[in-house]
């Protein structure tokens, strides 16, 4: 009596969640449309209900600053000062070598005892490093990048930036390694640190600039500390992962030969994990470069300060030049560090004893060039510093182009902007702002419950309520609106590009080149051309966010499509799918979880970029953080920063849970 019946859709009553959703949405709509006169508090939180957490945090910070002391031995301020002083020593040293030279005395009376490395010497050193790390091609690339810095008049600022990177990276790597090792060895430490790491990666950088500014003052050292704090968490993560991936045979070996805990770590684990650890080092370098501009807000100087200053006076040409210099520096350091990470170790050497020169050709040649160019610099200053008269600039022409576009296309650009603002952005913003907060919280809870369970529901609702009671709800809604619109647009553009790239090889090559480049650009660089064309405001912010956040949408989509199992595709082909059916019925369906994770990443990037766009006059949480930074108000900055982090966490947990559900349904879960 086995009948083959066509698959039936389950009846409505068989899907209770659907019923719950429908009813809830219905009630909420009624509430939204007609509830305002009766329940005003649900639409605008009464002042008296706002939490005073913000002031408590500020008070605590002030207490730390003014009164706190460690066992009466030294005060907190003395503590931060001494950290700053410790970091300052190597920083000053490196700065002397590559930028200022060694000076006797201070200010304009200072006498230079020893000049800094000349531009010739620095370029030769990176050239030699490139050759040592891989090949002549890399050497040429590195030397080319640094020559660009000299030729385009960015040398001085670049060296200041480079000095802070040279100091920040080892500190970040060292701390990351230590914390990672600790987490690997002590489970309780791992438990304690992993939520902190989660939070660190979602709290916008600006938010922790505020306390650093207050505690360490406005200085390059404060900027280095901020950079280290920003760049360390991924190193911790990578260290833990790398240690866990050491084959168990190697740990067994360590135990079998009788290693102590210390020997096991430093003689067996770390050397075996070194290749993965180097990936972490590369990450730290790239993140430090990402911080260059932001760190200049608390005194980093160098290229970042140049970009920021020109952004403030809307001198787009100069800004782009300095911004490009950061990119060039990033490319050089990225490629060099990657090559060093993957450098095959020298093969064994068994020949006759070699001379010093044969053993250390690169170091010795570098030393020679340093000395010779230094001496030559005494004869003619041009050998020491790239002559200013020879410097090129593209700044002027960039400004010209902008002027040209603005004169000739102003109307068209403005029309596009106005149309989008009036028809999409503003209505969406109004809609979000008009929603009653209890309704939104309830929906978050419902979403959490239906995607995963009551734990997620409680988490989402608690984080949401935190935002409500800080009194920042309206600003949070503006953040959600800007982020939402940008993510939707980024997905609408990014997913089709991702599909194309996956389906058609030539498109993939081009796309990959573009997204790789986009990823090395510091976020501020996106802001400048957009500001030039569209002035300040929400629209500008949105375009910049889209440009910055689109990469993961493209990358995850094409990655997801490419990794759909061959068997399933063949099964589709055999059963006679057209290529289009193959794409829509099989590949896209199976790649959906991956695409969702891409959108998740896009949201994270969008949120981090949104904080930066506060500079172009948005009125969201980013602005709140920015104001806190200019006022040095720790409480305000911390609360707004936490709100942004919580929005990120809610989005992340919900989407991840959704992707997991789909995976389970498709039978892709492990």
């Amino acid at each position: 009596m086995n009948q083959i019946s066509p698959q039936q859709k389950p009846a409505l009553w068989q899907r209770p969640m659907l019923v719950v959703w429908t009813i809830s949405l219905f009630i909420l709509t009624i509430f939204w449309l007609f509830g305002k006169p009766y329940l005003a508090w649900a639409f605008k939180l009464p002042r008296g209900w706002q939490s005073r957490l913000r002031y408590h945090i500020s008070d605590a910070a002030n207490w730390l600053l003014d009164d706190a002391s460690f066992f009466g031995l030294f005060t907190f301020t003395e503590f931060t000062r001494s950290i700053a002083a410790i970091v300052a020593v190597p920083y000053d040293f490196v700065l002397s070598i590559i930028s200022t030279g060694f000076l006797e005395g201070v200010g304009s009376d200072a006498i230079q005892l020893l000049p800094p490395l000349s531009w010739i010497a620095v370029i030769f050193l990176v050239f030699a490093l490139g050759r040592y790390a891989r090949d002549w091609k890399l050497a040429m690339l590195a030397a080319g990048c640094f020559s660009y810095l000299a030729i385009f008049g960015q040398w001085h600022s670049s060296m200041i930036t480079l000095a802070s990177i040279i100091i920040a990276v080892p500190i970040g790597v060292g701390f990351g390694l230590m914390l990672g090792i600790f987490s690997y060895r002590f489970w309780w430490f791992d438990r304690a640190i992993s939520p902190i790491l989660d939070l660190m990666q979602t709290v916008p950088v600006f938010a922790y600039l505020v306390p650093i500014l207050v505690f360490f003052g406005f200085s390059p050292v404060a900027a280095i500390i901020a950079t280290v704090i920003y760049a360390t968490p991924p190193m911790v993560r990578i260290t833990i992962l790398a240690l866990k991936q050491v084959p168990s045979e190697l740990t067994d070996l360590g135990n079998m030969v009788g290693c102590t805990g210390h020997q096991q770590m430093w003689k067996v684990m770390i050397p075996s994990a070194s290749e993965s650890l180097m990936v972490g080092v590369n990450q730290v370098i790239m993140l430090s470069l990402n911080m260059v501009i932001i760190a200049s807000m608390i005194g980093a100087g160098g290229l970042g300060a140049d970009v920021l200053a020109s952004l403030r006076r809307l001198d787009i040409g100069a800004g782009i030049e300095a911004g490009l210099a950061i990119v060039v520096l990033a490319i050089a350091l990225d490629r060099l560090s990657q090559a060093l990470a993957h450098r095959p170790p020298d093969p064994h050497y068994t020949g006759p004893k070699r001379s010093l020169l044969q053993r250390y050709p690169y170091s010795l040649a570098g030393l020679a060039v340093v000395i010779i160019s230094g001496l030559a610099g005494l004869v003619w200053a041009g050998f020491q510093r790239w002559p200013e008269a020879w410097s090129l600039t593209t700044g002027k022409s960039a400004n010209e182009i902008v002027k040209f576009i603005n004169i000739n296309f102003y109307d068209q650009l403005d029309a596009v902007k106005t149309a989008l603002l009036l028809n999409v952005l503003i209505p969406f913003k109004r809609f979000l702002l008009s929603l009653p907060w209890p309704g939104v919280i309830a929906l978050l809870g419902l979403a959490g419950f239906s995607l995963k369970g009551w734990r997620l529901a409680v988490l989402c609702m608690l984080l949401g309520l935190f935002i409500v009671f800080t009194g920042l709800w309206p600003k949070a809604m503006i953040t959600v609106y800007l982020c939402g619109i940008s993510v939707i647009i980024a997905s609408l553009i990014g997913i089709p590009i991702g599909i194309m790239a996956a389906e058609w090889k030539p498109a993939w090559n081009i796309t990959q080149l573009i997204i790789d480049t986009l990823q090395t650009l510091p976020s501020f660089v996106y802001l400048m051309p957009v500001v030039m064309l569209f002035r300040v405001g929400d629209f500008t912010a949105m375009i910049a966010v889209v440009a910055y956040a689109i990469v993961p949408a493209i990358r995850y989509t094409s990655h997801g499509l490419k990794h759909v199992s061959e068997d399933l595709i063949e099964a589709g082909v055999v059963s006679g799918c057209t290529p289009l059916q193959l794409l829509t019925k099989i590949k896209l369906k199976l790649a959906l979880p991956e695409i969702m994770l891409g959108i998740n990443q896009t949201i994270m990037l969008a949120l981090s970029m949104l904080v930066i766009t506060a500079l172009v006059g948005t009125r969201d949480l980013g602005q709140e953080v920015y104001i806190a930074l200019t006022k040095g108000d720790i409480g305000r900055g911390a609360i707004a920063g936490l709100c942004i982090a919580f929005i990120a966490i809610i989005a992340d947990r919900l989407i991840t849970a959704g992707a997991d559900r789909i995976k389970t349904r498709l039978g892709l879960a492990k």
Partner: protein, 341 residues
């Protein structure tokens, strides 16, 4: 049969993997030992179940079983790399499980060595550095440890490769390094966990010969793990056959081939060439008193006497170590064994 005392004893050893948090009661004394249904109920894996065995001084003790049968877990319990859930491990008569971690470090440094399936060479050290590594860990001065390392490297036939890095060597050479390293601190007890499984068949054969050559010189007490029954037969003084965490049978290769204890064991022995395993004394007939036309040693394998016996119609005398006649054997007896495969 053996007068020597055992070097290593496993006494009802258990290793249960999984979260024992909710299942504490099943490891309590009153319910011990747990049944398979208890384990299944709490999602536990009984990787080693009630294993008792003795390894005697100077013998090659092979533990054979299919992948997942718990061999690696058992051998790691023997050196306490894995803490057994229950049971006792006696090494030279002392209970290893009562040693402090400091004492264990000393025991592993001086009395135990181990060879791994995937070689476990440290990629950043040269052959010399890898072999000297156990001595480096002990804090022995460079000159002294390198001198010792060079000796063992020569012993395993890698002289001249001291400065190579592991990635510059073939698989067989890499395992020679692993063997050299495990011998560097002159262990009494030598563990080898599927040392040749990752090698090509031809190389494997060569390494087995090399291993037997080394053992004939060194006379270590050896626990050798393999999933290859032929390898077990070839190398073992005695074999323990494992299945699903438990030992099915322990015996000499000959015992196991002639008298498999379970169907499972019998399955392995099916394709073994009996003549190569069975010794003359186990198929000889009682002494008849009829004149013999020749003599063969009782300990010889049947395959070794085939050429001598195949053209003669008469009866051969089988002798023991002292030359005493302990039985008779004829061509028909040999042919019968040969017919069995």
């Amino acid at each position: 049969m053996r007068s020597k005392s055992p070097k290593l004893v496993c006494d009802h050893v258990w290793k249960i993997f999984g979260d024992l948090g909710k299942a504490q009661h099943i490891i309590d004394a009153q319910y011990w030992p747990p049944g398979q249904s208890d384990l299944d109920k709490y999602n536990l894996i009984g990787a080693v179940q009630q294993v008792s065995l003795e390894v005697f001084d100077g013998e090659i003790f092979v533990i054979m079983g299919l992948s997942g049968s718990g061999k690696s877990t058992l051998v790691r319990c023997m050196s306490r790399l894995i803490e057994p859930t229950n049971g006792r491990i006696l090494f030279n008569g002392e209970d290893l499980l009562e040693k402090t971690s400091r004492e264990m470090i000393e025991i592993r440094r001086h009395k135990m060595g181990m060879v791994f399936q995937h070689f476990a060479l440290l990629p950043h050290l040269t052959v010399l550095g890898n072999v000297a590594f156990p001595l480096e860990v002990q804090g022995i001065a460079r000159a002294k440890r390198e001198e010792r390392a060079r000796q063992v490297i020569e012993l395993v036939g890698l002289k001249g490769r001291e400065n190579y890095f592991p990635r510059e060597l073939s698989g067989g050479q890499q395992q020679r390094v692993g063997i050299a390293r495990s011998l560097a601190d002159e262990p009494e007890l030598w563990f080898l966990d599927e040392p040749f499984s990752a090698l090509d068949p031809l190389i494997r054969r060569e390494m087995q010969d090399e291993f037997l050559r080394l053992q004939s010189m060194l006379r270590k007490t050896i626990v050798f793990i393999t999933h290859d029954f032929d390898e077990a037969i070839r190398l073992a003084d005695r074999i323990a056959i494992m299945k699903d965490g438990a030992v099915d049978q322990i015996g000499t290769p000959e015992d196991i081939v002639i008298r498999p204890a379970t169907d499972y064991v019998a399955e392995f022995t099916k394709n073994v060439v009996r003549a190569k395993v069975v010794s003359v004394r186990s198929i000889m007939k009682p002494v008849t008193g009829r004149p013999a036309i020749g003599e063969v040693a009782g300990t010889a394998k049947v395959s070794q006497i085939v050429s001598k016996i195949k053209h003669s119609d008469g009866i051969f005398a089988v002798t023991d170590e002292d030359g005493e006649r302990i039985g008779d054997i004829s061509r028909d007896d040999v042919v019968e064994i040969l017919m069995q495969g």
